[in-house]
Symmetry: C2
Subunit: 519 residues, 2 copies
């Protein structure tokens, strides 16, 4: 099946309807398709050959969206780079995929020369920014590619051919380029329509960074459904609230940190959010206290959790709106990530690969149309991750008797203290229930007595105060004694996060590895 | 991907919820899966080998539903026989697929011995009826297969392996067995959820005959969505109305003839049909006059046309409820069959295979995940029907500028009279607008002067009367003179129909081929 199917369909069934809106410019689907076919022609005119990689380092934009489709249209592969990486990480990814072209926007134009120099495979830098004065030296202009080329016929990249490389966000270890195929794109585009209620009547807001597959699959699904899509260059809580209210947005994908910021925004009550039908959240664990608050503040919205990863093309499990019931016999389901979406098989396995029964914690394994072809250039890592069609996610979880999945923690994040397993997420949820806490992360730190000790790093809300003793007393009322932090670290700054809003626990572990026990 | 995915998922995510209800017996999804695994074991215990064909000749039943899944579960192929066939046609199909086992219910038990004798490959007759006295001599009992065997592990028939043979309904030429693969079943099961709004909250009624792929794909989609399904043994207008009202049915697939009968049923007004969310209709053209009447009588129901064929696993195009607007600027869309559902590409081609622009009539061609692997044992017919992944449907149609598909007629049904092309559907619609007409069919009959002449065969409503002159005068007010029937034949009996309710035009052509011009 063709990766470009969704775009071609949207141009045919809703060609005159608004497709992509970005910073005041709205283009109908037929125009979007025409521009994609021209960009594809432009890329081929530069000399790019079948299967070459086009790297994109950009904030969100209409051009970024077009490149999602122009790559397979031109029989190329798009590789998206994390905008929050440090320069050495960007260079590593460019070298890893041996990109032939690098597309940058105004925000990353200043890095282009340095990156291209460090990666000799890059023969063309393309500037996709509106401020032409900011273009890197010698860069091709993206709009010129559109204007100066006649539309290319779809080269129909299809089936098992790789079309997108999404680099894993790197909360554990080195980034790896997940190879997503035409079939991955095609079938996940179809699969997510029903669970996330995407249709031609959807008007979506994309504020998730587009280098992240969570945005990618959302956008693919919306295109397959021929929805309207408003793209925001970056996330800003007040801007997002304003856009939702003014553009009558029905669907958006947000990470918990974004929801938290929106709820804490000044005058949040003044925005009319009744247009929202589905608020899809995921990419990192949602503290139940935050979810409850969000549901209270947005009573008409269908909350819809997505649990997934890059390696499954952002499909996995889904907690539907009807499963968000804070009261009653099924209230516990709100603490799950839902059930596997139709098309995915999901099993919990022990370290030997045996399938575990309901109630037992093991590794979450997923099989389905979204499972990647592997990691680019990394056969050993691929073999470890994908076995006989099953992706081994690295997440620890359990199923209940009704098939709901509960993520306990990243397997590597689990803290073993005094022989007991402690899952960070549970401790973090207890801490988040304290009204003074703005952000927290719970990690294991080396400890002579306990092997690891449970450590909490906190960032407090403005004008609030808290002592270690108060926090520990608070936690004791909620979780078992061995789970209560033995060390509390107060951070004046917000906690460091990856591009998708995940707190960078490896960095915290490194920073505080030698921090003595203070409490 | 595995054909059995949907059943396995339903058993996991809604194992305790009602799955299949048939004649007063309701089984939860976990039980349905368990029975399927036992039937699969029973079939293997009889000596059936990988890829063997299990033929089913039965009215609708829970057992029939189980066999849909038991075949791939046991690594076998299910072949379903049209219950309205004459015995020679049944024998031809059994011989064509060289079935190893034949499953019959009470209605077809009397034919089993004759069929098995004529088809020596049939080594086992299995009786799936509740009245054990009606079992054919020497037949195995279906329930015994369930009770006496331990569940077999899913043999995971997958990918391009054939799992179902659905014989085309034979309104044109000899029946051919369309080979549907695991991937066809898997992906169409996913594809139809969104356009037909199937979910775990759906409670569906299946009255379409289950040997027809229209019922098959509906049931597969419902299973993938883990819906509730009420199966009716056969269609009866009053029974269907009663079941909808009493079992609070939300979704059903009906052919126009069924809708017509339901609207004409005594006391139709007394049934509470407000539970209905989606009435999916298709399989034969819907006369607009009938559609308008149905929409008036069921104002809260979302009407949803499906246009498809066996060879695309019953996926094609779909006219959504929001496109059913009898008034306003888009009223013409009600005369279309909608837009291709996401996943399907659709083109109109001329006889040389060139793609035609919007507005021009040609052959409807479809490419997508539902396109069959081919016709069983018929490489020449397969090569003629499927070219480079595109199914050539044999239907004449055109697309409008907005991507809506208008079916003009079966290409073979088109009448050429005096050099003008006349499409039967248009003439039939004009005739159906006359209040005295219960049923009609328009065909071309050999004519010395015109090559073919337009002939109409009518069956009138009870207690009504009509003359040829009145009908022709009525038609002249609606369609061009060359389209008006030159011959009107009044039939005292209802018109002959195939098992799915299609009027058997080849039979009518044969019957009336030598009928002299009467008018």
């Amino acid at each position: 099946m063709l990766a470009t199917h969704g775009l071609r369909r949207a141009a045919r069934v809703r060609g005159d309807f608004p497709g992509i809106e970005f910073e005041g410019v709205t283009r109908p689907w037929a125009t979007v398709e025409d521009r994609v076919a021209r960009v594809a022609a432009g890329l081929r005119a530069l000399g790019l050959q079948r299967g070459d990689r086009v790297a994109v380092l950009s904030e969100n934009s209409a051009a970024f969206f077009e490149l999602y489709w122009a790559a397979p249209w031109a029989d190329l592969i798009m590789a998206s780079l994390n905008t929050r990486w440090a320069v050495p990480e960007m260079i590593a990814a460019l070298q890893d995929c041996a990109a032939t072209a690098l597309v940058v926007d105004a925000a990353f134009a200043p890095l282009a020369e340095q990156l291209a120099k460090a990666c000799p495979s890059v023969r063309h830098v393309i500037y996709a920014g509106s401020d032409s004065a900011a273009a890197p030296n010698g860069a091709r202009d993206y709009e010129a590619l559109v204007v100066e080329n006649s539309p290319l016929a779809d080269q129909e990249r299809g089936g098992a051919e790789v079309v997108h490389l999404f680099y894993t966000s790197g909360t554990t270890g080195q980034s790896k380029g997940a190879m997503l195929t035409s079939d991955n794109v095609f079938f996940t585009g179809l699969m997510i329509a029903s669970p996330f209620a995407l249709s031609a009547r959807t008007n979506a807001l994309c504020v998730m960074p587009m280098f992240h597959v969570g945005a990618g699959t959302f956008l693919v699904g919306l295109t397959f459904a021929a929805s309207g899509i408003v793209i925001a260059r970056r996330f800003d809580a007040a801007d997002a609230l304003k856009t939702i209210a003014e553009r009558r947005i029905t669907h958006s994908v947000l990470v918990p940190a974004m929801i938290n910021q929106m709820l804490n925004a000044p005058n949040v009550e003044s925005y009319d959010l009744t247009c929202m039908e589905r608020l899809i959240y995921g990419a990192s664990p949602m503290p139940p206290a935050l979810l409850n608050r969000a549901m209270e503040k947005m009573p008409g919205v269908g909350f819809n959790q997505g649990y997934s990863m890059t390696e499954t093309t952002a499909t996995g499990a889904c907690l539907l709106p009807q499963d968000h019931q804070p009261d009653g016999p099924f209230a516990h389901r709100m603490y799950s990530v839902g059930q596997p979406i139709a098309g995915n098989d999901l099993e919990i396995r022990d370290p030997s690969g045996n399938v575990l029964p309901a109630g037992e914690v093991g590794e979450v394994c997923i099989r389905g149309p979204g499972v990647m072809a592997g990691y680019w250039n990394k056969p050993a890592e691929t073999a470890a991750a994908v076995k006989n069609g099953w992706l081994h996610t690295g997440d620890a979880g359990k199923l209940d008797a009704d098939g709901y999945l509960y993520i306990v923690d990243r397997i590597k994040d689990m803290i073993i203290t005094g022989g007991e397993n402690v899952y960070s997420a549970e401790v973090e949820n207890a801490i988040y229930a304290h009204p003074s806490v703005a952000e927290c992360a719970v990690i294991g730190l080396p400890d002579e007595k306990w092997g690891e000790r449970v450590a909490a790093i906190l960032h407090l809300k403005p004008e609030s105060s808290l002592t270690e003793g108060d926090l520990i007393a608070h936690c004791r009322t909620m979780i078992g004694g061995y789970k209560v932090p033995r060390q509390v670290i107060f951070s004046a700054d917000p906690l460091p996060r990856s591009g998708t809003g995940k707190i960078l626990k490896p960095l915290l572990r490194k920073t505080y590895a030698s921090a003595g026990k203070l409490g």
